[in-house]
């Protein structure tokens, strides 16, 4: 990619998604754009960029943004956050919301659905404790293509083997040839919506727990702070935020503080 095209393209992606692509991402950009160029019958990536510079083509724009922003995901990613959810967060929710018997969970970068479905399976496994409760899991993502995959809930043999215990595969998935589809009752537990974290997401309503893992790393500091501050506004005082293992709120916002002894979980800072 020519330097001028690279500059145009990185600004274009930043404007569309807030994602910062440094010069070290050239390989990533080219490898992800190549299939899009083929799909649109464009012989080279240079021609694809030229097309993006030209009159607006909504389909091409969407595919390019999808290609650059869809990130791999897997069931029970990193393990520990979901152990914490089972042993700490869920019991705390059940105790604190015992009067209203309702709670809402948001996966802010739902991608192809593995994270929201992981939470849905955990809640299904805890069904006896949740009799009489109303709860919602909302999954949002910038990529409409990823969300289509999430809604279908069909995964490859490779995808269902990373992180997912075999007992849960047997219990909640149906085999379709060499693919596996998650059960309708688990799919029905998650609502998917196409949202860009740069834009106002207030219409999603309030959330008791927000999973925003491994997505902020792609944004610059100012954008990270802005997103976290808007997430804070959607939470009650005892709301909890999950970030990825390599992410932090320190130096980004004072709205959240780490939960003591619980790596990856953040709570609202009183008085902020």
């Amino acid at each position: 990619m020519k330097p001028d095209d690279f500059a145009f393209f990185t600004k274009y992606i930043y404007d569309q998604s807030g994602i910062v692509l440094g010069a070290d991402k050239m390989y990533l950009i080219e490898s992800r754009l190549a299939p899009v160029a083929r799909k649109f019958n464009l012989a080279t990536i240079d021609l694809l960029v030229a097309q993006l510079r030209g009159p607006r083509d909504a389909n091409l724009q969407r595919e390019v943004v999808d290609a650059m922003t869809t990130n791999e995901s897997f069931f029970f990613r990193d393990g520990k956050p979901f152990d914490q959810f089972k042993s700490l967060v869920l019991p705390q929710l059940l105790a604190n919301r015992a009067a209203k018997k309702t709670f809402r969970i948001w996966c802010a970068a739902a991608s192809t659905g593995q994270e929201p479905y992981t939470i849905a399976m955990i809640l299904k496994e805890a069904a006896t404790q949740l009799i009489g409760w109303r709860y919602e899991i909302v999954g949002t993502d910038l990529s409409s293509e990823a969300l289509d995959r999430a809604r279908n809930g069909v995964y490859t043999q490779f995808e269902v083997q990373r992180g997912l215990p075999i007992q849960l595969l047997v219990k909640y998935f149906k085999q379709q040839g060499d693919k596996w589809q998650i059960a309708p009752e688990i799919r029905a537990m998650v609502q998917y919506k196409n949202y860009n974290l740069l834009h106002d997401f207030g219409a999603l309503g309030g959330f008791d727990v927000v999973f925003c893992r491994n997505v902020l790393i792609y944004f610059d500091q100012k954008t990270k702070g802005n997103i976290l501050e808007r997430i804070a506004k959607l939470m009650p005082p005892d709301g909890l935020l999950y970030l990825g293992g390599a992410e932090t709120v320190l130096g980004v916002t004072e709205k959240f503080q780490p939960m003591p002894n619980q790596r990856g979980i953040y709570q609202l800072t009183p008085g902020k």
Binding site: F74, F76, G79, Q157, F158, Q161, R162, G163, P165, I166, Q167, L169, V170, K174, Q175, D178
Partner: protein, 121 residues
């Protein structure tokens, strides 16, 4: 150092599994069928077993049932690793006492993920 018994009639698969498991600091023993595996377990019970399904002499599921019925045979963590990917086969393996199940083809990432799930990593 924890011991892993790799049971597969394919030398290639045993070598691939050995490389992955040794890189994760396991001591690896090998067996080419279920009977050899049973003999190895009688000599010294391993901490974990990576087990193929289709093998000559004694297949994986027969080995697993015999192992679980033998003294001390409930201790090893058993991970099937097989081209048998049908749901009914997976259910059969779980009922026979398998702790996890890897569908071939596999790579080191899948093996590591499964070992974490069963608490070996």
């Amino acid at each position: 150092m924890k011991t892993f018994l790799v049971v597969d009639d394919s030398r290639v698969i045993r070598n691939v599994a050995r490389r992955i498991l040794e890189a994760l600091s396991f001591k690896v023993e090998e067996a080419a069928d279920g009977q050899q595996a049973l003999d190895a377990c009688k000599r010294a019970m391993p901490d974990a077993i990576l087990l193929d399904w289709n093998m000559p002499v004694m297949d994986g599921i027969s080995f697993l049932r015999a192992l679980r019925a033998s003294p001390g045979g409930d201790a090893p963590i058993v991970l099937f690793c097989t081209t048998e990917t049908e749901l009914v086969k997976i259910q059969t393996a779980i009922e026979a006492g398998a702790n996890e199940y890897i569908m071939k083809p596999f790579d080191s990432e899948i093996v590591e993920s499964k070992l974490s799930q069963v608490g070996l990593l």
